[in-house]
């Protein structure tokens, strides 16, 4: 136990030593384009000498927007359509200019549009479109025989196929709903002629698609912009001007190629972002170091171990305290066991969200959640270990004149130790495993490569997080076993042999 505390302090100290001036925090959503833009912003800021931390794939729009508003992050890429239709929908703003005024009043500034519009688009094979002479969506009117394959979402959304068909007065009756990837494959095989896509999808490059011009301006605009905290204008002068270099410089074609660089060519986001930055602004990044696998794993290991060690130390200390209280003070048992049991039933994903207003994002939130989850086995096993000590033994302790503290220290805790250690081992496994979820709130750790791997559909990257996480759980279990051998009296192990 003392060892774990030492380790936690060491790691915490190590983390703090890096500190100094607070770095700027860039956020990004959990899809590739957002991560590339986040990395691009990071490189741009670094080229001007700022220290930057990129909190990658934090989650969805709402989480990032809230994080920006509460000052957890300083800047992140967003889309105008998302702001008008989702984030600010309640404010009922008519135009983008209204939205900018509204955002300003909430302490949020806007840079951009950056130059591309990532909205719905209809795509056709370049060759097929060329042979039929189709350039715009209106052109489809003349070709009633084309086979349309749309995602189920596009088929059903009011602003999807139903509205599109009405606006353009399209004659096609049998548009079919299908999976996005199936549609791409169908396009290749000639089963599908027209499909829906996003205008900056990497696949548009990969499959050689022509995106049809939305000549009646039916699809809403999803212009990419950067949102930043207005306070930055005074806190860090020149930053807004610096970031404004990106405004209007990223075309849909450029963005598409960058997305393909990551998703199809499987290059690192940071390397692709460096290319994007140079192509868009002419700024050469100071130095782009794409971490090697060993460096990445080592960094994730430190993050994961730091979270786990601090959480486990707190779990053990608080768990023992609550367990002893529940065992010794009869009326405290139901509320304590009820509380830790109730937390256990809250799904981890939901817990992060519920706690966000209180503890925010990042490591602090992750550690708090881990602490809450890990408590149950330690509390319950401590309480159980103490209350199940044979009555004659406790009476002997009383009659020998031991004080309450001495009874606890010399008799109850040593006798409950095997049960307590069983609880600690459960907590170790739970904590190491649950800590991977910390990645969705920017706490890093082994969850980061798992998320990235899932996003990029790359098993090797998923395993980069999965295998070390399993290894860490096993190593910590072995350590716990070792400590147990040192602490638990040999007199109690005899019992197990019998």
């Amino acid at each position: 136990m003392r060892g774990a505390l030492l380790l936690a302090m060491l790691l915490a100290g190590g983390g703090a030593a890096v500190g100094g001036e607070e770095p700027l925090r860039v956020g990004s959503k959990k899809f590739t384009e957002s991560v590339i833009l986040g990395d691009t912003v990071k490189l741009l800021l670094e080229s001007d000498g700022h220290r930057v931390e990129h909190k990658k794939q934090l989650g969805g729009s709402r989480i990032l927007f809230d994080a920006l508003e509460s000052g957890e992050i300083d800047v992140y890429p967003e889309y105008t359509g998302t702001l008008l239709r989702e984030l600010l929908a309640d404010a009922r703003l008519a135009t983008w200019n209204d939205a900018k005024v509204h955002l300003r009043s909430r302490g949020i500034g806007v840079i951009g549009p950056l130059g591309f519009n990532n909205t719905y688009a209809l795509g056709m094979k370049e060759k097929r479109a060329a042979s039929l002479g189709i350039r715009m969506i209106s052109d489809l009117r003349e070709h009633a025989g084309l086979k349309l394959g749309f995602t189920n979402e596009f088929m059903q959304r009011e602003d999807g196929w139903p509205g599109l068909r009405t606006r353009y007065d399209l004659p096609h009756e049998d548009a079919r709903g299908m999976d996005h990837d199936m549609a791409y494959r169908g396009l290749g095989a000639g089963e599908v002629d027209v499909m829906d896509c996003y205008s900056t999808d990497a696949e548009i490059v990969h499959y050689g698609l022509r995106t049809l011009e939305d000549d009646l301006a039916y699809f809403p605009s999803y212009q990419a912009v950067l949102l930043y905290r207005v306070a930055l204008e005074t806190e860090a002068q020149g930053i807004v001007a610096l970031l404004s270099q990106l405004a209007g410089r990223i075309s849909a074609d450029l963005m598409r190629r960058m997305n393909a660089g990551v998703k199809i060519e499987r290059r690192a986001e940071l390397a692709v972002a460096a290319e994007l930055l140079e192509a868009a602004t002419g700024v050469r990044p100071v130095e782009v170091i794409v971490a090697t696998r060993a460096e990445r794993v080592w960094r994730r290991t430190k993050e994961h171990l730091l979270m786990t060690a601090i959480a486990l130390t707190a779990i053990i200390l608080l768990g023992l305290l609550l367990g002893v209280a529940a065992a010794k003070v009869r009326w405290l048992a139901p509320p304590i066991l009820g509380f830790v049991g109730l937390i256990w039933t809250v799904p981890a994903l939901g817990l992060f969200y519920v706690m966000m207003p209180v503890v925010g994002l990042y490591e602090k939130a992750a550690i708090t959640a881990l602490l809450l989850y890990g408590l149950l086995p330690v509390v319950r096993n401590t309480q159980l270990g103490i209350t199940t000590i044979a009555k004659p033994i406790m009476e002997s302790a009383h009659v020998l004149g031991l004080s309450a503290w001495e009874r606890l220290r010399r008799i109850e805790l040593p006798l409950a130790a095997p049960s307590i250690f069983a609880g600690i081992k459960s907590a170790v496994v739970i904590t190491v495993g649950t800590a991977t979820i910390g990645a969705i709130i920017g706490a890093g750790g082994y969850g980061q490569p798992i998320l990235t791997g899932i996003r990029r559909d790359d098993m090797a990257i998923v395993l980069e997080g999965l295998l070390p996480a399993m290894g860490m759980a096993l190593v910590l279990l072995m350590l716990t076993d070792l400590v147990e051998r040192l602490i638990v009296s040999p007199g109690l192990r005899l019992k197990a042999d019998r």
């Binding site: 044979a390 004659p392 033994i393 009476e395 002997s396 302790a397 009383h398 009659v399 020998l400 004149g401 031991l402 004080s403 001495e406 010399r410 008799i411 040593p414 006798l415 130790a417 638990v488 009296s489 040999p490 007199g491 109690l492 005899l494 019992k495 019998r498």
Partner: protein
Amino acid sequence: MLALHGVTKRFGDTVALDDVSLDVTAGRTTALIGPSGCGKSTVLRLLVGLVRPSDGEVMVGDVLVGRDTERAVRRTVGYVIQEGGLFPHMTARRNVTLAARHAGWTPERIGERLETLVALTSFPGDALDRYPLQLSGGQRQRLALMRGLMLDPDVLLLDEPFAALDPVVRHELQEELRAIFERLGKTVVLVTHDLAEASFLGHEIVLMDAGRIVQRGAFRDFVDAPATPFVTRFVRAQRAPWDAS
């Protein structure tokens, strides 16, 4: 030396002791006997403050046993319970010396006392560093006795000390125990359900039934002048096999 004055003890609706008064003379061995649930163990537990009377007073020496005095009382009373109540995570040595270490004795004093006790109880010296589960039943009982005697108490209370032993070991230990009691001259209260054991070890026998004292005296009194038909039945139920012939 030890006294119960009009003590009643209720556990919920059950009456364990019903207005019991008892005086135990200093320096003598008193055997409390009776069927299961008669209240004999409750008397011992009252004397060390493990339970408190619902009514009446419990005295040890001239101290009234209560919340404030129980820890002081326990230093003058040694208590040996069924199966020993030994601490399985401590070696024999640590089991015996725990109370003395807690009371702040010097290591030299503890060492001397331990030597005396090992000799007194014929506990094998090389077994001192074993754990209770590595000891035989007889050794465990000797160990419990040593632990009860460690602080050299004036009073020794024993609750069914031989219950878990096989007959041969039990017989040996009874002999030794009687010799030890005679040598130490302590006030001893022994709880048992075996009349032969009670008469062998006790100067005086106290027979209890259903929370009351039925009769007290020497073994012969129980045979020659039974106070109630219950006494006769109890004595007859305990007869030795050779009585039948």
